[in-house]
């Protein structure tokens, strides 16, 4: 019955005009990797040019897969891709780029020893004669693109000398130079400071005004509400909800991501820690700690059962302070005491022997050995102190592995599976569980919830509180001030290597902390 498709007034000249098809339409997308169904029924519709389309979902919900399919890096098993109503098949990234879809991934991929201009025009160089590069044209084109993005970057500079946020801008510029109409930004803000996020948002606004649509992926809900026009929520490989941002509020997004109503109450609102008085003698005392060129005269104390936060912009010395305390970075001067006895951090091994534990901000590189089992990773810092040629058996570590895995609620088939196969949140729990297994009394945690989803984040927070209740001393560094306020008793603010303020978290607000971390102590 072909007629019914058009409805009763198909002949009406006004309604006969079909509505403009959406800019990009992915429907019924399915993809499996071996036995794992990464996507079951993924749908994502970008309605028009010049919109910012948010994509959100927990780790493992299929975000990366759908982005890969959109940008031609992954071939879907099922489903259709339509660009302006026309069916498309992308076999390789160049196909997608040819149709104006470009992706900027989480890791920057620039050639550090080439100039900004060359990086922008990489792959479609301005040429003169056979094989020669037309340098003036290269510089001119690069300068044009940078001007279009309203960026003040010297095209002659080497890309490797730029800060991470500016490197990201170069990648965006590269995509734009290839006439991208749809720009995919995969967690662009995850490693940026607040100020840098502002610059990125300004650039997105410029692109939007020029009719470029942006797919924006982030775990941070506040950012979504700030710049996103329409949203797609993925859960377990399916599109759980989609629509204009005006239809969403925080509660609904979290409920859709987690898949049950009321989930927001459980995970969304971090309960404030009950104030505990810390009259006990501090476990960790640091006075006038200096790290060559980075940390200046840092003094602090942490008592047992206390959670002390460290706030500060990227580059303020937070990371280096924690590394120095753990002996992973050399200290130029300073007096330290652990449990009342003098402590000289010389290497991580001696720090661990004194009861310290350190969670690095980059779990995939430094926190875990991804190819090894959960068991090996959890017990590594315990077994590191046993005689090397002693024979080992699973039975020896069974108790501690079971205790930590159930205590940390690590979701995995067995302790024997490789850590690399777990979701981000579970990986982070294993990285943290290592120190629970080692029975550390002082925990130094750098970005403990980076790159984990809302639910896992809430779980990690409650695990950290449990650790504090069992009398561990925690020093938590985070770029999310909101997290510090919710989690800590007291927040130290670092600015250019020095601790410039100590704020009880009851008195702290995000506004106050962002002012302090910018170095403005007075109004």
């Amino acid at each position: 019955m072909p007629f019914t498709r058009h409805g009763p007034d198909w002949w009406n000249p006004v309604t006969q005009m079909p509505p403009a098809p959406p800019l990009l339409e992915l429907t019924g997308i399915a993809k499996r990797y071996g036995g794992v169904r990464a996507l079951k029924r993924g749908t994502l519709v970008i309605s028009a040019p010049g919109v910012v389309h948010g994509l959100i979902g927990e780790n493992g919900s299929g975000k990366s897969t759908i982005l890969g399919i959109m940008s031609g890096q992954v071939r879907p098993d099922e489903g259709s891709i339509r660009l302006n109503g026309e069916a498309m098949q992308f076999v390789k990234p160049l196909d997608a780029i040819g149709h104006g879809i470009a992706m900027v991934s989480q890791e920057t991929a620039l050639a550090p020893d080439l100039s900004v201009a060359e990086n922008i025009l990489l792959g479609h160089r301005a040429e003169r004669g056979p094989g020669g590069i037309d340098w003036p044209a290269t510089r001119r084109k690069a300068a044009e693109v940078l001007a279009r993005l309203d960026l003040d970057i010297d095209p002659e500079q080497l890309a490797g000398t730029l800060s991470p946020d500016r490197q990201q801008m170069i990648e965006i510029a590269r995509a734009i130079s290839m006439d991208a109409r749809i720009l995919i930004l995969d967690e662009p803000t995850s490693s940026l400071t607040d100020d840098q996020v502002r610059v990125l948002f300004k650039t997105i606004a410029v692109l939007k005004a020029q009719g470029v649509s942006v797919v924006f992926v982030s775990h941070r809900l506040a950012e979504m509400f700030e710049i996103v026009d329409e949203l797609t929520v993925l859960r377990d490989g399916e599109t759980a909800a989609s629509g204009p941002m005006s239809e969403f509020d925080v509660q609904r997004i979290v409920d859709e991501m987690v898949g049950r109503a009321g989930a927001w109450e459980e995970v969304g609102v971090p309960e404030r820690r009950a104030r505990v008085s810390h009259n006990a003698a501090p476990v960790l005392e640091v006075s006038e700690l200096n790290v060559e060129g980075i940390v200046r005269d840092a003094s602090l104390t942490v008592a047992p059962g206390e959670i002390v936060g460290v706030a500060g912009l990227v580059g303020s010395g937070r990371r280096e302070l924690l590394e120095a305390l753990f002996g992973a970075r050399s200290v130029s001067s300073g007096e330290l005491a652990l449990q009342g006895k003098p402590y000289t951090p010389s290497n991580p091994r001696s720090a661990i022997a004194r009861g310290m534990g350190y969670l690095p901000p980059d779990r995939k590189l430094r926190g875990l050995v991804l190819g090894r089992s959960i068991r090996d990773n959890l017990t590594m810092s315990v077994t590191a102190f046993l005689p090397r040629l002693r024979s080992h058996s699973r039975a020896q570590t069974e108790d501690v592995v079971q205790r930590v895995m159930s205590g940390m609620r690590v979701r995995a088939e067995s302790p024997e599976v490789a850590v690399g196969t777990l979701s981000g949140g579970n990986q982070q729990k294993v990285a943290l569980g290592k120190w629970l297994a080692a029975g550390s009394t002082v925990l130094l945690l750098d970005e403990p919830t980076r790159g984990v989803d809302v639910a896992a984040k809430a779980e990690i927070h409650s695990l950290l509180r449990e650790a504090a209740e069992s009398n561990a001393a925690l020093l938590v560094s985070s770029s999310e001030n909101e997290e510090l306020i919710a989690l800590c008793d007291r927040i130290l603010v670092m600015f250019r290597g020095a601790i410039i303020a100590s704020v009880p978290s009851a008195d702290a607000s995000e506004a106050l902390l962002s002012r302090y971390t910018g170095g403005h102590l007075s109004e």
């Binding site: 990797y33 071996g34 794992v36 890096q73 390789k92 990234p93 160049l94 780029i97 991934s105 890791e107 991929a109 050639a111 990489l122 792959g123 479609h124 590269r174 290839m178 753990f326 992973a328 991580p348 091994r349 661990i352 022997a353 350190y358 690095p360 590189l365 430094r366 926190g367 875990l368 050995v369 991804l370 190819g371 090894r372 090996d376 590594m380 810092s381 077994t383 590191a384 102190f385 046993l386 005689p387 090397r388 040629l389 002693r390 024979s391 080992h392 058996s393 490789a418 690399g420 196969t421 290592k434």
Partner: protein, 335 residues
């Protein structure tokens, strides 16, 4: 018990293609060559790869921590000359010379290669290439480019005599293999190798003594080279000044064929044993079939690429992701 067997079977995952090839080759040669299955030929097959076998066991440990020892061949030749000089020109008893040979191998591995790579963090390629070059020169200088004939009883006992009806080198191969298997799977040192190979930073931050682990791995390959040198000298009855430049590369081929990744952090000596057997079977089978033995090298090269590729294609999701990630990055950089 069935659990143990199940675990053992699961651990063969990485070298099952190589294992299947070895079995297939064995069946083909056994069916086509009447002399192949004779005990004499099978013993020849194994003793011919004794030196490669022992060096490859040590090489596996180095590969797991993310390196390769290019100097193993030069170390074997250097220690060979040492044995020749000591046995022929000094009154030192030959059993002491044998122990010294192994200790010198350990020292070269530990204090030259291991210290420069592990302690100073230099590239394994640069360091072991330099050691190889310097040792090759030393061998030529010290030996005056002449072969040293050795007729010592203890050394020929190790190289050619039989114990309980089987050549001594085969017994040594079995003992070294079991020892390596034990160290790899049953000691904390063995687990350290995997942790360090997987992520040096994560291992260090967990309190593992990374420098020592790397030094120990190179010490082991050095010690293996020392032992291999005793067998080589015993088998030929002479110390040759000819450095087998090929040896470390063949060992690396056997290690990679056996499923140990060049990037480190995975694999093991079980696979390496299969890799060496593959090379030995091809060598032996082709030569008794009257085919030029150089074909063995051609085939090994082709199979090595095929095996590593095949492992990637059939491999688990994680590694597939990594392959994809690398490709994506390359594509991205070149667009």
């Amino acid at each position: 018990m069935s659990n143990v067997l199940g675990h053992a079977w699961a651990s063969t995952r990485r070298f099952r293609p190589a294992l299947a090839l070895v079995i297939a080759l064995f069946i083909v040669f056994a069916a086509t060559q009447s002399t192949f299955l004779g005990p004499r030929n099978l013993q020849n097959l194994l003793t011919a790869v004794a030196v490669l076998w022992i060096v490859s066991m040590g090489m596996t440990f180095v590969t797991i921590v993310g390196g390769i020892d290019l100097s193993a061949g030069a170390t074997v030749a250097f220690i060979g000359i040492f044995i020749g000089k000591m046995v022929n020109y000094t009154p030192i008893p030959s059993w002491v010379v044998i122990i010294l040979a192994i200790l010198i191998g350990i020292a070269v591995g530990c204090f030259i290669n291991g210290a420069l790579i592990g302690k100073l963090g230099m590239s394994f390629f640069v360091v072991t290439l330099a050691t190889m070059t310097a040792l090759t020169g030393t061998v030529n200088l010290w030996s005056n480019n002449t072969t040293e004939v050795i007729t010592d009883r203890a050394i020929s006992w190790i190289g050619v005599e039989r114990v309980f009806g089987m050549p001594t080198p085969i017994w040594i191969m079995i003992v070294i293999f079991l020892l390596a298997l034990f160290v790899q799977n049953r000691t904390y040192f063995g687990r350290d190798l995997y942790a360090v190979g997987g992520s040096i930073a994560a291992a260090k931050l967990s309190g593992i003594r990374v420098e020592r682990t790397v030094m120990a791995a190179y010490a082991i390959v050095g010690g293996c080279a020392g032992l291999a040198s005793v067998i080589a000298v015993g088998r030929i009855g002479a110390a040759s000044p000819q450095v087998e430049v090929d040896l470390p590369l063949q060992a690396a081929a056997a290690v990679l064929l056996g499923g140990t990744a060049l990037a480190g952090g995975s694999g093991g000596v079980g696979g390496t044993a299969v890799g060496v057997l593959f090379i030995g079977l091809l060598q032996n089978g082709l030569s008794i079939s009257g085919v030029q033995s150089y074909w063995q090298q051609v085939v090994t090269g082709v199979i090595l690429v095929a095996a590593v590729l095949g492992e990637r294609v059939t491999g688990g999701r994680v590694r597939k992701g990594r392959l994809f990630g690398e490709l994506a990055k390359q594509r991205k950089a070149g667009l």
